[in-house]
Amino acid sequence: MEKMSRVTTALGSSSITGRTMFCHLDAPANAISVCRDAAQVVVAGRNIFKIYALEEEQFVEKLNLRVGRKPSLNFSCADVMWHQMEENLLATAATNGAVVTWNLGKPSRNKQDQLFTEHKRTVNKVCFHPTEAYMLLSGSQDGFMKCFDLRKKESVSTFSGQSESVRDVQFSMKDYFTFAASFENGNVQLWDIRRPDRYERMFTAHTGPVFCCDWHPDDRGWLATGGRDKMVKVWDMTTNRAKEIYCVQTIASVARVKWRPEKKFHLATCSMMVDHNIYVWDIRRPFIPFATFEEHKDVTTGIVWRHQHDPHYLLSGSKDSTLYQHMFKDATRPVDKANPEGLCFGLMGDLAFAVNESLVSSDGGRKPYPGGDRRYPFFSFKKPNPTEQFAHVSSALSVFETDLDSSRMDWFVKTAQLYLLSGKPFTELCDHNATVARELKRPQVSTTWTMLRIMFSDPALGPNHSLSKLGGLPLMNSFSMKEMGPESRLERCKGESRQDNIHLEPGNSHISNNNEENEETEGSDGPTEYMFGDAELDDDDLYPLEHDNQTVAEEPVYTLPPEAFQLRHEIIDNPSVPEHLQQDKADSPHVSGNEAEVACLTPIESFSLISISQPLYSPHLHANFFCPIVREMLSHYAERGDVQMAVSVLIVLGEKIRKEIDDLTQEHWYMSYIDLLQRFELWNVSNEVIKLSTCSAITCLNQTSTTLHINCSNCKRPMSNKGWICDRCRQCASACAVCHHVVKGLFVWCQGCSHGGHLEHIMNWLKNNSHCPAGCGHLCEYT
């Protein structure tokens, strides 16, 4: 039998031709089904029940089965199925609970054959036996499945799902007697058609309703299920317990699932809500659809492969009242559009880079990565079958470590911890922060703080007093604003144009290519930049700046960190600019001392010159006068990646500067800084920053997710109550292991054995002991 059908269909499949096409229906479709020879399709819905012929170029309406003057609810179909053996036989499931069969061979206009009204609620699904001509199965909302013998007037057996609504029933393709049923409570049952008293097997497949199931056409044991929980799962039923072997997470509840003919690992799904596309998945690669059909404008309600041995044609009906034939070759392939490379910065400036192996290896003449770079082979699939289109899945992960040791970010952590942002008079804060910066060998930051103090503090204190601290800087007071203003602007312009230059460089198109080129870019990059800075100084012919450069040159090593950090940071800030990314990424592994130094320092230093010159020039200027300059200074720091500086100054200056900077920018800085702090696990600092910020979007950050879910330490079940007593075991849940009292307040516990107690008690205990105070024998580790 099997063989026969295969032969005929093989013949049939050769005759299938067509293209992607559609036709308008008069009403939304609920389900579709094709006849065996793939020449006709039936569409059923609440107000439609028609048969269309599939011709080369178009759908042609063949027959309207909704006849009669009075519309009957028996025509309001939830599901339809065309018998796969008998060309003239169809069955529909009606929303009012009727199961109707239709005989197309009838001479009269009304083709209705039999009517079964045994179900009390909506029938969700009808299914013909794949090889038996007269056997029909139905599953209904009322919790019953019924098997009908079409030669008789009523059902031959009834299977009870214990009052859980049945969403789908499917005869097994291979086991003559077996069928699967899926339920609204998430269960799937397997039944033997001969034994209506009890199911053979039951397992919970999903949380929430299981809307659909489908047996694999070739593999005896595989059952695919789809549910409201947005999952498609493939179960191996051959073992004693149904085993989940594949799982695909989609983005919406799964309404239908259909295995793709002739492709062992492919299945098609469509959704019931929100998402209108049809996806074809390779279940071995569950994160991205293999192919997508995006034609429908409303939810797709029915999908069916046109021929049971032809994987290239998919038919679909939708709520948008269209019927489509999709050609597989016209499908969208999301993989092609997906970015084949992944890129991420580590906290310490390391860079991880994953790319499709083919792209990397195609670049045979690639030079080894310089410096401390290493490559980790990470993830690779063996191709199970070279002919499969999708099997080409392998990627390589490379990690580029920064060539300096990771302690380089220390300055950031230290600065964050040592800065004072509030709680003292403004001048003291500035002085303190300046000292902190100076001790960390960041003279330009230190100077900035001093400048700020001078600019915004009471002029009565006298600028001389403050300037005296600055050592050589008073030298520069000969510069006027006029000279310096344009210069600094000019410099920024150049900084920008430098970036632009790099954007224009070739090599962005291909990543491996780019990698190679990076080194060159790198090489040319530094000098170029240096030259900009240099040329600028020369142009302006300002001797004090040379002096400045010299002082700076003494400490290039210490000022390196800003560069590494800044690069990473800029990426966070501008994720939408890929070229920028590439450039930065290219830079990071090879940052060499001098260029970073110059890039970072030159503009800032000259900047501070402007500001310092001012108070001397006209000491009685109102503090507001400086706001534009400070604003530019802050933006400059932020752009250079030192968002820490920007935010700290913003907080310390408070009202003095806040109005000058638009809220979005402020929020952006805050977010970036808080993000950084949290990555460095500086929770206290980050919380302080949140508290001190004035942006409403930021201050509310520490109001959210303040719930901590805990389990009872005795019975290990979740504590649903507030308070100290578990409502299940009636014990105090959080007792201190040392003093055996309830801990209220700070509770510290070992993550290994989950015993713990008062912070102090545990600290004392650990001074003398290394084992758990609870006596569980665990060698506790507290972090």
Partner: protein
């Protein structure tokens, strides 16, 4: 409590603790403070004995709170201490408040309702949870405690909607609750949430009316109105207007949150009126400082069946309606048996639905003498004339909504869960809990399958909203629900503020109060689901 006893607020919180010693500690503190206040006002009181003068209104608030605690706190020790404290204060010559009326419901005698002091362990746990979360145990929870399983699910959902992570800020949530409850002039819920609103830092100005609230909330007024009275008129244009309003626009997640709140509070208003929930002891109208009157019974007591006046009536009624339950059961049995005999034609089925729908419109909700004090609530709606009545008089038709095309299980759930995670799950559980709740009893009869009756009630309510189930024979409704019951349902669902004690009493006379509350739960959930379906359908249409 207002700002002035901010410091004592923390102590009230302490009373919700599960730890007896911390409760005692908090109680001790309150005692001291109250005593201090009492001593402070004593001299003044001698001069001006009028209660309510500004100097001791502060104290009065505390006293009222104590009174509430002495009755409603789930913790035995706190109740005891509060009672004791009040008595002490009275002994000092201070006038203390007493509760007006008795029990949480006007319709149900207090003795029928579970006493806070005598509940089983699981209910006690639920009460304690509620008390810890809200620092009160409201009358609604007490009445619902007839059905502890449901109560748990209800409180969990409500707590999540109002207090847990969600797209809307806390004061917005309470304001939306106020808006929704005000639509039905439900002063009970409005008062409750005005307090909460102020407590979470809401702006007092907003309470002067919707036009004092931010533009964003004002825009919600439109769909509040439509959802409450004619949800089928909600279109995707309404949704679009909310979502695309420049700086005042709502995000989809916020809108879902708001819609769930609105529908929850519309239907909760129904429940409140349907069960005749009394004002909270510590809210306006829940207590008085006046000494008891001579007759010893206030009006409420009598209406409540707590007096002796009504007993005679009840007896009469019972005799009269003796066979009611049996008759109903008989009919259910018949329907079950002869279902297959006469299979009604499809047109017949359609007509039955239409007839039921039209009829439901004509069921007259009595214009009753009882006018709920609409005090200062009316300010929250701009358009008082917009009610259910208007259109039913004009004979407009409710369009039919096919449940099979847009159902909660298949569509609504996914949408809600997508935009407001976990809430879909909770609502789903709550709906199922309400729909499937049964004790297999009817009045005095045991082992009755009530599924048919429950389904009839549920579908009748959906039918009033135009929602039709293809697989339901609406003829059953006529068989199972008698006229007085239909009037009650109709009133409760469409204009709950008109529900009267007479209506409550005149349906299902022989049934237990717990069963009537059960019916109320069904009504409430069915109404909520119906409103929600219309709202979600509009949102879905907008999204596609």
């Amino acid at each position: 409590m207002e700002m002035q006893h901010q410091e004592s607020l923390g102590r009230w919180d302490g009373l919700g603790s599960r730890d007896a010693s911390s409760r005692a500690e908090a109680m001790e503190f309150i005692c001291q403070e109250v005593m201090r206040k009492v001593e402070a006002i004593e001299p003044i009181k001698a001069a001006t004995p009028a209660p309510g003068s500004s100097s001791n209104s502060d104290l009065n608030d505390i006293l009222v709170h104590l009174l509430m605690l002495s009755r409603r706190c789930p913790f035995e020790d706190v109740r005891g201490r509060c009672t004791q404290l009040l008595r002490d204060i009275q002994d000092l010559g201070i006038r203390i408040p007493r509760p007006l009326g008795s029990g949480p419901s006007r319709f149900i005698p207090e003795k029928e309702i579970l006493q806070v002091s005598k509940v089983d362990a699981s209910t006690q746990a639920i009460f304690e949870d509620a008390f810890a979360a809200l620092r009160r145990l409201d009358n609604i929870s007490l009445v619902m405690s007839f059905h502890p399983q449901y109560l748990e699910s209800f409180l969990r959902t409500q707590h999540y909607l109002l207090q847990m992570d969600g797209p809307l800020p806390l004061h917005y949530r309470h304001y939306i609750c106020i808006m929704a409850a005000a639509r039905h002039q439900c002063s009970y819920l409005v008062n409750l949430h005005v307090n909460d609103f102020l407590q979470v830092g809401g702006n007092t100005k907003w309470l002067n009316g919707l036009n004092e609230a931010p533009q964003k909330l004002q825009q919600l007024g439109e769909i509040n109105k439509i959802l409450a009275h004619r949800p089928w008129l909600l279109t995707k244009e309404h949704i679009e207007r909310l979502l695309k309003a420049e700086e005042h626009s709502w995000s989809l997640a916020e809108l879902i949150h708001a819609v769930v709140l609105l529908t929850h509070y519309h239907s909760l208003s129904s429940f409140t009126f349907g069960c005749g929930i009394m004002p909270e002891i510590n809210c306006d109208g829940g207590h008085t400082f006046r000494p008891p009157s001579v007759s010893q019974y206030c009006v409420c007591d009598i209406a409540n069946g707590n007096g002796h006046a009504n007993h005679h009536n009840d007896l009469l009624g019972n005799q009269e309606m003796c066979g009611e339950v049996e008759e109903l059961m008989e009919r259910m049995k018949q329907l079950q048996e002869c279902r297959d005999d006469e299979e009604a034609s499809q047109e017949e089925m359609a007509t039955r639905f239409e007839r039921e729908k039209t009829e439901s419109m004509l069921v007259v909700t009595s214009e009753d003498e009882e006018c709920v004090p609409s005090r200062d609530i009316s300010r929250h709606f701009e358009d008082t004339s917009y009610g259910y009545q208007d259109f039913s008089r004009r004979g407009e038709q409710v369009p039919t909504f096919r449940a099979q095309d847009y159902s909660w299980e298949d569509h609504g759930f996914s949408l809600v869960n997508r935009l407001y995670p976990d809430v879909g799950q909770m609502l789903d559980e709550k709906f199922q809990m309400a729909y499937n709740l049964t004790y297999n009893t009817m009045a005095t009869h045991k082992d009755v399958d009530t599924s048919m009756l429950r389904r009839a009630i549920w579908n009748y309510i959906h039918c009033m909203f135009g929602i039709r189930y293809d697989d339901y024979d609406y003829g059953e409704i006529n068989q199972l629900l008698d006229r007085s019951f239909k009037i009650y349902i109709k009133t409760m669902v469409c204009s709950p503020e008109k529900t009267t004690k007479r209506m409550y009493e005149s349906f299902w006379r022989q049934f237990q109060h717990s069963e009537k509350v059960h019916v109320n739960l069904l009504l409430m959930e069915a109404r909520m689901q119906a409103e929600l379906l219309y709202a979600l359908r509009a949102i879905t249409r907008y999204m596609t």
